[in-house]
Amino acid sequence: MTLLQLMFDTLLGFSLLWLAWQALTSPDLFRAIVLFIAFGLLMALTWIRLDAPDVAMAEASIGAGLTGALLLSALARLGSKNGSRAILEKKHQAGSMTENTKNQLPFRLLLMVLLLAVAAGLVYVVLTLPENIPGLGILVEENLESSGVSNPVTAVLLNYRGYDTLLELSVLLLTLLGVWSLGDMTKQHESFPGPVLSTLSRLLVPLLIMAAGYLLWVGAHAPGGAFQAGSLLGAAGVLLLLAGWRPGTRLAGLPLRISLVLGVAAFVAAGMVFILLGRQFLEYPPSFAGVLILLIEAAATLSIGITLAALFLGGRPKFSQPKFSRPKLNQPKSSQPKFRRHK
């Protein structure tokens, strides 16, 4: 490692730690979000330095891009009248609780001791790791030919450890079900998008969809794959939602739900079919593996993208189009609360 690389890595590492600390301790929530976006960018650079371009792609798209938009949207909702009142009430409660916190000192000390014990244990484990263990890398290399793809990461994710990816997809689906169970989409009083945003969304959405297709395809032999492609698709959805588009009555019902479960369904179906032919669950015959992986990934990409966009919507979509209101100049704006709670 050259001196330059060492300097780059040191600077990267220290700024990451500093950013993480600042983002956690910042009293201003907006500043914390911006620091978190910057943290995502530097984290992606760190993954690149750690030779993990696949993870860097996921971090770049989800950590720096989508999560930033999601947090900003959540903050705006907190800033609405209902939200700020709730925060104020919380602050009142917190004010009266400062006396209680003094009594919690023994508890805090116990917590610190336990945390230090966990930290010491982790340090011990890392220090006692045997050096130069080959890991499973060799095994993956040896069996790469029968996996159907030439990118070892995709081989592990979609073939050798298919269970993990299947369960990850299910977690994403369960998250959305959790959000939907909290209630309907809040009706937002959106302003007209304006020419710049309309043009941007018309230019960027096709590009995002094309790039998603590219990453899905390239994942078979280079860094890329379903999650990265899905998050780009999700970003396209988020951009459309921000520009004021809402799923229409026809789309918000059955078609939306089918596309949400498509990824998990295709994965399970592909796993089950070969049980009938006397193989294990998720064990693909080598001659079909490449095609099967591409099909599963295509279904997963669609589901991931639509799930992420649906998460951004923040509730079960209703079967109606929003009504745009042109910016009103004469009427007082405060007459209409921006974010109304659902009934």
């Binding site: 700024s15 911006v34 976006i37 650079l45 792609m57 720096a64 960027l204 921000l242 704006k333």
Partner: protein, 92 residues
Amino acid sequence: MEILYLSIALFLLLTLVAGLWRVLQGPTSADRMLAAQLFGTTAVACVLLLAQAFEYPPLRDVALIFALLAAVAAVAFIRRAWAAEEQNDVSD
């Protein structure tokens, strides 16, 4: 050439760290958001330089993702956070 690319990448990282000052200082949320947008641009350049320095073309795809997604957070800011702030200012 590797040394040149790496030193430029290091310089870009330094400018990024210097830009964090603006995020901390503000004063308005737009200043902070614009600084984050600038970080996105810097990160694209940085990743492209690393791709050249290590002669590893797939890193260009990471830069592509950075470039495509930089606008999404900015649009969310304008449409949600900034709009809410303006409305609060008017109603106060």
